[in-house]
Each structure stands twice: as structure tokens, then as C-alpha cells.
């Protein structure tokens, strides 16, 4: 989110003082110690719609205002970015490496601003991430990976940047790293005493497929791909879709309904009313401005891409609701409220030359 906001603020020539305030406000809210403590408390995973709500609040913790369409697309970009990083990690420890790289890059963004006051918050979160995850075994980390991928299941959006730089195929599939290494295809047998009995090596399919088909983006996972100063990557030509499978219709890659919505009933009305109170619209401050992040046609191809994302409706009462309410209340919003509306700047596509 910070990557995209920073790039968009620069691209739309938002005055430096406002850009600095927006980024500091968002980062200060995102890494507020009380809020972070609640996030790191063991709990059930939030649904997509609940997470969307949190990020909506984060985005509006500043003087910036985003249209619903811009917020939808920002969230889609964030979701697909994390999904890509998860699927393309070849080691479980990479989840932590990516997280720490995110935090370090956000810190470098803050430290380039005239006001660096939110920077110390990031160090505390870095330490917390390391403390929480570095002691986990492979089994726990893989359970974590499975849980996260459950969150991103059925979230399939074509991202122009990903298509251009070979992260996604033209069909929208995230290109996975190669399945081949020296170990694959080996067969070793041992005798009853544990001594080596035989060793063989079999030909496997992965060894015969052109390595270009498994193109891996050179930027480390977690890098700020939206940084305009970064050298753009031209992926090698791939047969790609010809061997991926049957041609998929475009609508396979529109955003889908939130299938992770909590289906348990009871008490949902009370919780929804509580959250609605938190989201009470207040008059925006005088220096409020509207940032319209994205053009109409930059997220992909066709009408399906411009459809709205998952509903914002908070559904049902689940085990996590009281905790979520606590998390939301810790998002210190001050006077800024969550107002929408007003006219905005003209759009610039996020993705050049889409």
C-alpha cells in the first residue's frame, strides 16, 4: 500500500508537504504500537472483506480521500502483490524475508521525507516480526503459508505491471519458479545396515522444459515494483499459455465474491452497528484532497476487470469479531474520518503503456 501511494503521490504531483503528511499519517496509523499488538495477538484470520475494511480505514487515516473505485483497485493490487510473493517463495523462510524487506523499504521511504517522525515505529515492528516468526519450524511456517493462501484463494486479477514484466502469463496465471533441481529424479536405496546400496537418476519432465517457461522476476520478492526509478524488466518470450492448459475465458480473472465471508450467524447486527459507528463520516478538514489513483482501464482487459471488488458488507458474528472491533478502535483516526466524495484530480494510469 505504501509503495503504491508513494508512487501515485509523486506521479500526480501532489505538493510535497501534503504527500509527506499523507505518508506519515498512513504509516503512523499502520504501525501504531497498540494496533500492532492487537494484530500480533493469536486470532482467527480475518476475512477478505474485513481486511478490506481495515485498509480502507488506513487509507483514510490521512487528509487523502480515495474514491471507492480507487480503493477497490488499490486493494486488488495489494492482494495480487502478496499472492505473487507467497506463490513464488521457494522457501518458507521467505515469508519473513519479504515482510522484513517491506518494512525496510517503507522505512527508506519515510527517511526520504522531510518529516521522518514515523520511522521509529518501523523498528519496533521489525523486531516483533523477527521475534514472532523466527522460532517457527517448517511445519508451522507451512501451515501459515496454507492459511494465507486460503485467504487469497479465488482472488485472480490481471495486473498490468505483472503482465508486462512476466510475473503473470497472458492468461493471468502467476508464473511459478522452476520445479527442477539436481535432487529431483534421484533414487537412493540403502541396505539393512544403512549402507548405500544403489543410486539412480531418472529423467523427469521438469528437466526438459525450457527454463524460460519458469521465468522468475529478478527483483527480490518484496521489492518495491512500483518504484519508477527501477529498471523495467522485459521477460523472455515464452510458449507459456500454449502449454498451460485450455484457453480460459476472460471472466475467469475478474475479482470474485468473498467466499471467505463468515457464514456463522447471530450477533452480526450488533457488531455491524458498532463498526458503522466507527466509520461515522465526519466533515473533512479544510486541507483535505482527493486522490484518484487509477484510470478506468489500467487493471487488465475488458469490462470484467472494472467490476467492483468484494462487497464491503461486514457479515455475521464470528470468533474474531470482538478482536476485530478492538483492532479497528486502535486505528487512531483523529479528526480525519472516512469521508468520501468531492471531485478529484484527473487520473494517471498506474501502469505506463498498459
Amino acid at each position: 500500500m505504501t509503495y503504491i501511494l508513494e508512487q501515485r503521490l509523486k506521479a500526480q504531483n501532489i505538493p510535497a508537504d501534503k504527500s509527506c503528511k499523507v505518508l506519515n499519517d498512513v504509516i503512523r496509523t499502520m504501525f501504531d504500537p497498540g494496533y500492532v499488538d492487537k494484530l500480533f495477538a493469536p486470532q482467527d484470520m480475518y476475512t477478505v472483506s474485513q481486511t478490506r475494511k481495515i485498509f480502507d480505514r488506513l487509507a483514510h487515516s490521512s487528509i487523502m480521500r480515495l474514491s471507492e473505485s480507487s480503493m477497490d483497485k488499490l486493494f486488488d493490487l495489494m492482494m495480487m502483490g502478496v499472492k505473487y510473493q507467497l506463490l513464488c517463495s521457494t522457501k518458507l523462510e521467505q515469508m519473513m524475508e519479504v515482510t522484513l524487506l517491506h518494512i525496510a523499504t517503507v522505512r527508506s521511504i519515510v527517511e526520504s521525507l522531510p518529516d521522518k517522525s514515523s520511522a521509529p515505529l518501523l523498528g519496533a515492528v521489525e523486531a516483533l516480526v523477527t521475534r514472532t516468526y523466527s522460532g517457527m519450524g517448517l511445519g508451522q511456517l507451512h501451515l501459515l503459508r496454507q492459511t494465507l493462501l486460503r485467504f487469497f484463494q479465488d482472488k485472480r486479477v490481471k495486473v498490468s505491471l505483472f503482465l508486462q514484466e512476466g510475473i503473470q502469463s497472458s492468461m493471468g496465471r502467476i508464473i511459478l519458479p522452476s520445479p527442477h533441481n539436481a535432487y529431483v529424479g534421484t533414487a537412493t536405496t540403502y541396505d539393512m545396515g544403512g549402507g548405500l546400496e544403489s543410486q539412480n537418476k531418472f529423467k523427469v519432465k521438469s528437466g526438459s522444459i525450457d527454463a524460460q517457461e519458469f521465468f522468475v522476476h529478478p527483483a527480490p520478492l518484496g521489492t518495491n515494483l512500483y518504484n519508477k526509478d527501477r529498471t523495467k524488466v522485459a521477460p523472455p518470450p515464452r510458449k507459456g499459455d500454449a502449454i498451460t492448459g485450455p484457453i480460459k475465458p476472460e471472466e475467469e480473472y475478474k475479482t470474485t465474491n468473498d467466499e471467505y465471508a463468515d457464514r456463522r450467524g447471530g450477533g452480526g447486527g450488533t457488531e455491524f452497528a458498532y463498526l458503522s459507528a466507527l466509520l461515522n463520516v465526519k466533515p473533512p478538514p479544510a486541507d483535505n484532497f482527493k486522490l484518484n489513483l487509477f484510470g478506468d482501464d489500467d487493471m487488465g482487459m475488458g469490462a470484467a476487470s472494472s467490476s467492483k471488488v468484494a462487497s464491503m458488507t461486514f457479515v455475521g458474528a464470528g470468533k474474531n469479531d470482538k478482536h476485530l472491533a478492538g483492532v479497528m478502535s486502535d486505528l487512531s483516526l483523529g479528526d480525519k474520518g472516512a469521508g468520501k466524495g468531492g471531485e478529484g484530480h484527473d487520473l494517471l494510469d498506474l501502469m505506463d503503456g498498459a
Binding site: 517448517l138 511445519g139 507451512h142 520445479p179 529431483v184 529424479g185 537412493t188 536405496t189 467466499e259
Partner: protein
């Protein structure tokens, strides 16, 4: 094929001519006969249930002519009939599972995972399932009534991390009984440990530990038992064969480069199929009983994180595969 399968261990089972998988909190099933090579979508039935807990494993358990589908979830296990039309039995997660492993702080939420059918030495059929606390429980099947009964009985404490997979010779044979099967259960955990039990009966203390493989740090994702060999698929891509009674390593197959997600064993032949998140599927002849290891099939389903594999078809020779977040199933037919 919608909805898409979730990324959990062994997310595909074959039962009564249908394939079964889990989509987050919902079990899904479709008929093999409904699949064609023309790309026409197959009709998937989402199993209607009042339960909406996250599913951690799907297993088809065959017993003689009967078959059951066992779903292991956040709340315990559900046992369905083979058509997944009737929910036959629900076992809530035992309280000890929610408490975590003894003496250790809870590291994660509580859940059930792994299931296999077995027959004890006294002839009692039962289903074994595992929990996140490392507990393994047996639930007896009353053959006369055709019902599961009583409270599940815990095996002696052994595993200290969540159970990942359970296997037995009877499970591996898909319910085709033979005298030499034995009554062994193999249980595996997230730390990579394996335990082999002999089930004398399904009462308290009815199972004794026969052998164990120490934890290696690499989780065992799937397990099968064939004659005197335990076949264990590990998360790092290795399929390892251990002696059933001595726990010694007999063979190591480099099946995949990373993140094995599933394994199935042929009901009558000594071959296994393995799939991985690295998009590859392999069918391997096991080096058992004097046979040499061999790679019978090697496929890459491009850009698909495979999540389940099952032998299927009339003779059980075909191999079905599904992938995470992908609306397709692939079936590879045995060319005899």
C-alpha cells in the same frame, strides 16, 4: 470445475467413482464419468452441510463393500457416506486437542487432520484421526449396526506437534482385505516424526508403539503403508521409505524440488503418485520386494500449485490431479 481446491495436504480423494476435494470450508465432489477431454465444465456438487469449519484433510476410507469420506476440520471430524449425501457421524475435537501439547504453550489454533481406516487385531474396524495437539484417536465402527459408536479413544502420547498424516496397510489397499495386512497404523507430524503402532484393539491401551522415526524437522505430508514398508512424503520434496518394524531408512526418492502437497498409493500395485506446489506430478514404482525404483510418469502442469492426487478409474490405474486456485482437474489414463 468450480470452486477451486484449497492448498491443504492431500486435497483429493477418490471414492465410488467420484473425486472429492475441499474448497476452504466446503467439500466438493464430481463424478469421474462427467469428465471429458473437450474442456466442457464438469458438474461439481458442493456438499451441503450445517458445518462450516475450515477443512484440513479429506480422506476416503473403504471397508469391504462400504466406503466413508472423512473430513477433518477445525471442529473435529465428520464422517460421510460414500456419496457425501448423508452425514453419518460427527466427532468434536477432543478437549485435549484444544489445549495444545502437554507442557507447551499453544502455537496455533486447534484442528483435526489426517484420517485412515484400520482393523485391529481383534477384528474391530476403526477410523484413526489426528489433532493439532499431536493426539491420535480411534473411533470404532460397529459392523453389525454399520455405525460409528462411542467416544474416540486416544493412543498413548507420542507426537508433540500437529499430526499431518495417518496411514495403514488397510487404508493403502482401499479396503481390500488380505490376511497379511497386519493391524499397523503409521502416524506422522509437523516436526517430521513418524510412529508405527500395532492396534490390538480399540480400547484404552489397545495400541502399542512398534517403532518410530525421530523428528527430522521436515514435516511428513502424506504417508502410506505397504507390507513392511512405511512410505513417507516430506515437505522438502523427498519420498522416504522406512522399515515398518525398525524405522530404518530404506530408500530416498527425489520426487520434487519443494513443497510436496500430496501422495497416493495404488491399491494393488507398489506404485505411488506424488504432487507438489512446484507444478509437477510424478508416478513412481517403489523399490519394494526386490523391485527397482522407477519413474513411470512425470508431468508439469504449468504454473499450477498442485494440491491433490488420487489413483482412480475402474482398475485404479488412472491418476487424477487438482491444483490450488485452479478450476481444472487433470486425469492421466494408464496406457496398458
Amino acid at each position: 470445475m468450480k470452486p477451486s481446491p484449497s492448498l491443504i495436504y492431500n486435497n483429493l480423494a477418490s471414492c465410488a467413482g467420484s473425486l472429492l476435494y475441499a474448497h476452504i470450508r466446503q467439500a466438493c465432489t464430481f463424478a469421474l464419468s462427467g469428465m471429458s477431454s473437450s474442456g466442457v465444465p464438469v458438474a461439481v456438487r458442493k456438499v451441503e452441510s450445517q458445518h462450516s469449519d475450515v477443512i484440513h484433510s479429506v480422506a476416503a476410507c473403504h471397508h469391504n463393500a462400504a466406503a466413508f469420506v472423512v473430513l477433518a476440520t477445525d471442529a473435529g471430524i465428520q464422517i460421510w457416506d460414500k456419496s457425501m449425501t448423508h452425514l453419518l457421524h460427527v466427532v468434536p475435537l477432543p478437549p485435549a486437542a484444544a489445549a495444545g501439547a502437554p507442557g507447551l504453550p499453544p502455537r496455533h489454533g486447534a484442528f483435526a487432520r489426517g484420517a485412515a481406516i484400520n482393523v485391529a487385531a481383534d477384528g474391530t474396524p476403526h477410523i484413526a484421526f489426528g489433532t493439532s495437539a499431536g493426539g491420535v484417536y480411534l473411533l470404532e465402527l460397529n459392523e453389525t449396526e454399520g455405525k460409528f459408536r462411542g467416544m474416540p479413544v486416544a493412543l498413548p502420547p507420542h507426537h508433540t506437534s500437529p499430526i499431518t498424516a495417518i496411514g495403514s496397510p488397510y487404508q493403502s489397499r482401499q479396503g481390500k482385505w488380505s490376511e497379511d495386512l497386519g493391524c499397523y497404523l503409521a502416524t506422522c507430524d509437523e516436526d517430521g516424526g513418524i510412529a508405527v503402532w500395532e492396534a490390538g484393539n480399540t480400547g484404552p491401551g489397545g495400541c502399542t508403539l512398534v517403532s518410530s522415526v525421530p523428528a527430522t524437522g521436515v514435516p511428513v505430508v502424506a504417508v502410506a503403508v505397504r507390507r513392511d514398508i512405511v512410505v513417507a512424503a516430506r515437505l522438502d520434496g523427498a519420498v522416504q521409505l522406512y522399515g515398518l518394524r525398525d524405522g530404518k531408512l530404506r530408500a530416498d526418492l527425489g520426487a520434487h524440488s519443494r513443497f510436496i502437497s500430496g501422495m497416493d498409493i495404488h491399491p494393488t500395485k507398489d506404485i505411488i503418485a506424488t504432487v507438489s506446489e512446484d507444478c509437477s506430478l510424478g508416478v513412481w514404482a517403489l523399490p519394494i520386494g526386490g523391485a527397482k525404483a522407477d519413474c513411470l510418469l512425470s508431468v508439469c502442469w504449468m504454473h499450477a500449485a498442485l494440491t491433490g492426487v488420487a489413483f482412480c478409474g475402474p482398475a485404479g490405474d488412472d491418476v487424477a490431479v487438482v491444483a490450488y486456485d485452479t478450476d481444472e482437474a487433470h486425469v492421466y489414463k494408464w496406457a496398458s
